[in-house]
């Protein structure tokens, strides 16, 4: 292990390491801690200039209550779920198929198609913006969750395919080969031999895509205008304009918006990190 484990070091180093850990964490998460504290701070504290001391009393229920009662944040959160969940299912589903195709068959265009998926995944969003917005307008999906779902599904399919293809490549090929010799059809090999082995990859990818799509802000501003379809990132931004200097509300709203992906991350931590690094193992 590198660096040398602290257990092997002198007691002085061991103890200072144990002290430094929480200190470093607090410094690192300082902006977050500040926002969390502000979200439970009564408005009167802010007016009195108490920005950084302890809140004079716990106003969490008051602030979070006000955020949900007086703003459309509940609706925004719901919209985010309406956009994110179908996208995760769609993109992961598509990439199981395309990843299987690229991992499993030798054909001339194989590597080319793979690299097109990879490269497409790297392009800046702005090069897609005008035509995609135009297409969404023409198909009547502008200002609805469906336009966003379709776009995100297609775009994320690039990264997902890279990920699934590398995962399937790491599976024992003999398994597929022997099924083929038995005369099992290609579709059944996919559905009954490969799919059951892909569960960890599907879990890892789902958490990642959930986070990516939930946190998207750019496409939400390009393809949605009204509150009825607006996800929470864009919603929070518009609320920020309404709540000028009401930092206790902005903070509470930010925490609400950040919570679903954070909860997801903590529940599925192992999968999340496996996902980030698995997608990146080749390279």
């Amino acid at each position: 292990m590198f660096p040398t484990p602290v257990q092997k070091a002198s007691p002085f180093i061991r103890i200072s390491y144990q002290i430094m850990l929480p200190v470093a964490l607090i410094v690192w998460l300082f902006p977050l801690i500040g926002v969390a504290l502000t979200s439970v701070r009564p408005a009167s504290d802010l007016a009195a200039g108490n920005y950084f001391g302890m809140p004079s009393y716990f106003a969490g229920f008051e602030n979070y209550g006000a955020v949900f009662r007086d703003s459309l944040i509940g609706q925004f959160i719901l919209n985010s779920f309406k956009i994110t969940i179908p996208t995760v299912i769609g993109a992961v589903g598509l990439s199981c198929l395309s990843g299987f195709a690229l991992a499993n068959y030798q054909f001339k265009a194989n590597l080319w198609i793979f690299f097109i998926f990879v490269a497409g995944n790297f392009v800046p969003a702005q090069i897609l913006m005008v035509p995609v917005r135009d297409l969404t307008l023409r198909t009547g999906l502008y200002d609805s969750v469906y336009g966003l779902i379709l776009f995100h599904t297609a775009f994320q399919a690039g990264f997902c395919t890279l990920f699934m293809r590398n995962f399937i490549k790491s599976l024992p090929f003999a398994l597929i080969e022997s099924a083929r010799v038995e005369g099992v059809s290609e579709w059944k090999i996919f559905a009954y031999v490969v799919m059951p082995l892909m569960r960890p990859a599907i879990a890892a990818l789902s958490v990642l895509i959930f986070t990516f799509v939930w946190n998207d802000y750019f496409w939400a501003t390009v393809m949605v205008q009204g509150a009825h379809a607006m996800p929470v990132t864009a919603g929070l931004y518009s609320l920020n304009g309404q709540w000028v200097a009401a930092w206790h509300l902005v903070s509470a709203g930010s925490i609400v918006a950040a919570l679903p992906p954070v909860a997801m991350f903590f529940l599925m931590q192992k999968h999340f990190i496996a996902g980030l690094t698995l997608g990146a193992t080749k390279g």
Partner: protein, 304 residues
């Protein structure tokens, strides 16, 4: 299992050609979607960049007009310069992430929780990160401004001052990016062959020499990915600029992605053609890096 291999006579055309057809059938749904929403729009954007178009009416062909206009556009150069600044300063997240990873690569009680908490900023949306730092930087009561005032005695409104605003935004962007790089390196450190480290220690390699000659070369795959995601992250910067300053003050924090959006869609008018032309420039810059990454990946695919 015994069972008969079905006699070839009964095989239909589909079954006979299954192996050839199957990859295309499996690929079709994903590839079609990807074509409609990613590949075709790249071509369309390039095409649109040769027109003067407000997004609704008739488009007028102006050839290279948009690109010629760009050559004399101060705002374009400001954006381009800021993009370079992002690119250079964002690279700091690679050593910083490595540093934190080395710090956290220990086996003490609760270290797993520490690692996850350090990773936190990456999971949070950039909108929230932007709001957090705006508050952090706020003049009068923002914590950082307070600190600066205590040290230098003068007030600084970071995001309202065109000398500092871009740096302030980049600092906010570095926060989640460092977390991302850190996690890549933590996994990399985990995969290092412990025997090699022991062998090196036997030979009295220690501290920095051990790190430089033994550890760092083994972390190369992690470094490669870290550089890739950091370059892409830097060139994609849009959210933070939009949230924290709207490109201001006086347009000094614009980056190409934001300037493009402003030209094409905001109150400054719907100049789709000019916007598309800016996007093409950004795309070409990105292509330089994409080509580099892909050639490396191809080489590895061939070897592996």
């Amino acid at each position: 299992m015994t069972t008969a291999v079905s006699p070839p006579v009964q095989l239909g055309w589909f079954r006979r050609n299954q192996i050839k057809l199957a990859p295309w059938l499996f690929l079709a749904p994903g590839l079609i979607m990807f074509f409609i929403y990613v590949l075709a729009p790249i071509g369309q954007s390039i095409w649109i960049s040769f027109f003067d178009w407000d997004g609704l009416g008739k488009a007028t062909w102006i050839g290279l007009g948009n690109y010629v206009e760009m050559l004399d556009d101060t705002n374009f150069y400001i954006s381009l310069k800021n993009n370079l600044l992002w690119l250079v300063l964002y690279m700091l997240s690679v050593p910083a992430g490595l540093g934190i990873a080395l710090f956290l690569n220990q086996n003490v009680v609760g270290i797993r929780l520490y690692k996850s908490l350090f990773f936190f900023p990456f999971v949070i949306s950039q909108v929230v990160v932007g709001l957090m730092f705006t508050w952090f930087y706020a003049p009068d009561f923002g914590l950082l401004s307070g600190l600066i005032q205590a040290i230098t005695g003068s007030k600084v409104a970071i995001l309202a001052d065109d000398r500092y605003a871009t740096y302030g935004i980049i600092a906010a962007g570095l926060w989640p990016q460092i977390a991302y790089v850190m996690i890549l390196y933590l996994t990399g450190l985990n995969n290092i062959n412990p025997e090699q480290i022991e062998a090196a220690r036997m030979d009295h390699a220690k501290g920095f020499a051990l790190f430089w000659h033994i550890i760092l070369p083994q972390l190369r795959p992690a470094t490669f990915i870290a550089v890739v995601v950091t370059v892409i992250g830097a060139l994609r910067s849009f959210d933070l600029v939009s949230i924290m300053t709207h490109g201001g003050p006086y347009g000094s924090t614009r980056v190409l992605s934001y300037y493009m959006y402003e030209q094409a869609l905001s109150e400054y008018g719907y100049r789709m053609g000019y916007g598309a032309a800016i996007a093409v420039v950004l795309f070409l810059i990105m292509m330089v890096f994409i080509t580099f990454f892909i050639t490396r990946m191809i080489a590895q695919e061939r070897n592996g």
